[in-house]
Subunit: 384 residues, 2 copies
């Protein structure tokens, strides 16, 4: 494992979106990460309060302003209203906490920019939406955390406090042997995720492909026009949407995960999931991929389907034990929680000494610190 | 005309939604009212600052955080972001004003509920959305203004500061003679507005109907399945979407406006427009109708299409001069602006004396005052 700095117990508020419960009943990337982080912080002895819908499950203190997560609740027409109400609940209690950790985009900025309570926001989504430029031009001093360095690209002038990669519980998945003689595509059926490219790569390599993916309403036209016909190809097996157990087995036996991503993916949880199973990834170098996939170690990065098919021939050379070890070092909940604690500690102490932010306008707490000299992990330390 | 209390010059911020310019280029109910109010307040000598998109036209000081109204601006994916940015601009300048008048729903409540600057919000939309219950349970002390008493029904416990009906410039439309031998339907082609009922009423009465209405994308299926076939009936003429001049002529010559409204319409600007042209209305008693349409004076209120057809036979008995006069007394911009000034004055003075709100939790400023004793109009004085 690794050396961790131990922090004194902190009073931490985790503020989750309300679209899904924490953890989500089914899909829900952000709420899943909030859950992992919250439970790990509780396990480490911190006093954690989780602001989330009442159908959430947690060992933290749960504060709910709505009885059910919004996607499942009947008659919901205005989701913003519920997030505003939750924000007000946080404001009314904010003096109870050492740090407020928001996962709710920018909606709280008008309030947090006018308070001296230490706070930080993890940005879970894509940031290449032009409207966000207006937000980050207006709110220059709101500390935000990216989930990959690549995610920051459209907003270089935001007040970046660090990058913290998502982490998974160590025991969520175990290593498999990759002896299934197939490759796998996991995710949504959407143009950004490019399942058609994955099918093409498998075809070129002469390997069967198993596809486990949900089809959102928004993507149904794309699915029925572009992808459904491909599902009839003899080397393709479509499994629909699958559960956690099936996902583990699917990844454990796969020769490789295909990730021919076609947009600036801010993180890509499936990359960490594959690593947890010891499974290498063949990926296109968009978004977070060059940070998450280590070339020749945890996967191979390629630029087109032909190179991907060639790469598949060499994939067995990658060491599945090393891949699993890399997962444990870089993408465990413990690493994630420690990185967040490190940022909390820095923000609390900076605020304590002085409310002024650095002249350069970029907090980038800890970016210049090293693991060795401090005795604990750098923010996403394995890059250090 | 009527006696008006003259208020000392106030420094007023009008905060508009950003979806349309102020006034809107085409459709846009809220922004149109904000424009009428702003220009009238300027005319009366107040120092008005209008927060709105930069393509707005005003004699007030214009403060814009976005260069173009959002409906026309390319690449807009997140309209909430722009309203949050504008709110922050308001916050940064709020000490420049005697009163902040928001037209932006509830989005500013987390900030205004934590400030002592006098403020008030006009609610322009439907309030029967369940999510809003959570907002008004949480934010009990935010003074809000309804655009009809009926609009308040789903939210009886909100902090109602008064009802102010929308007003039109006196010279926008002039009285017509209603000699066109047709009835008219104006609005959107949607189930709530019930154009099918209007067509049925005209058919039963044996009178031609002219329909001027836009068709939103959201209503296209309803239009093509339910309404398009009716447009082929011999007594129906569909004019599409029309401009201000055409609208005036259409209303001036119409025997009556048909308003078989099928939802709790919070105001219904076309009711005031018809009155401005001296044209009576035959309406179903939903939403604001019983307040806006005075039975036997400015229109006839009926409960079904058969009664509506019968009512049409007696419609010529209504006095078009009296209808126009009633418009001038109740629905002019001057009346609207005076009512708002009265509320501003009360809020500013209450706040000045004490920040505490009444024990009952309902501000209802001025509701108990009378016109005669105060020498100026009651809130929507003609009801007094």
């Amino acid at each position: 494992m690794y050396v961790v700095k131990s922090f004194e117990s902190m009073k931490i508020a985790q503020i989750s979106p309300l679209c899904e419960s924490v953890p989500p009943k089914a899909y829900g990337g952000t709420e899943r990460v909030v859950s992992y982080l919250t439970e790990e912080l509780v396990r480490q002895g911190h006093e954690v309060t989780l602001f989330a819908s009442k159908d959430s499950q947690t060992k933290a203190q749960l504060v709910s302003t709505v009885e059910q997560s919004l996607r499942l609740k009947e008659g919901v027409l205005d989701t913003v209203a519920h997030h505003i109400v939750q924000m007000q609940e946080v404001i009314e209690r904010m003096h109870e906490f050492d740090i407020l950790h928001f996962h709710t985009d920018y909606i709280h900025f008008p309030v947090t920019s006018n308070t001296s309570i230490p706070h930080v926001t993890t940005l879970h989504g894509r940031l290449d939406i032009p409207d966000l430029q207006y937000i980050y031009n207006k709110f220059k001093n709101q500390p935000v955390i990216s989930i990959s360095d690549a995610q920051r690209k459209p907003l270089p002038h935001a007040e970046w406090a660090g990058t913290v990669y998502h982490g998974l519980p160590l025991n969520l998945y175990t290593k498999g042997d990759g002896d299934g003689d197939y490759v796998v595509f996991l995710g949504r059926i959407s143009p950004e995720k490019a399942p058609d490219k994955a099918i093409e790569i498998a075809q070129r390599a002469g390997i069967p492909i198993k596809i486990a993916a949900k089809i959102d309403k928004a993507d149904y036209e794309y699915y029925s026009q572009k992808i459904k016909p491909l599902f009839k190809l003899p080397h393709v097996e479509y499994l629909g949407e699958i559960g956690e157990n099936e996902k583990e087995q699917l990844l454990q036996k796969a020769k490789a995960l295909l990730f021919p991503i076609n947009w600036p993916e801010p993180f890509g949880m499936v990359l960490a999931e594959a690593m947890a199973c010891g499974t290498p990834t063949i990926a296109f170098p968009n978004g977070s991929v060059p940070e998450l996939v280590e070339e020749g170690k945890t996967g191979l990065i390629v630029h087109d389907t032909a190179s991907a098919a060639s790469a598949l021939k060499n994939i067995d050379a990658l060491d599945r034990d090393l891949i699993r070890n890399t997962f444990e070092k870089r993408f465990s909940v413990q690493v994630m929680a420690d990185n967040y604690l490190y940022i909390y500690d820095n923000i609390i102490n900076k605020k304590g000494k002085s409310i002024e932010l650095p002249v350069n306008g970029q907090l980038s707490i800890g970016a210049k610190r090293t693991i060795a000299s401090e005795g604990y992990l750098h923010i996403n330390g394995t890059r250090g």
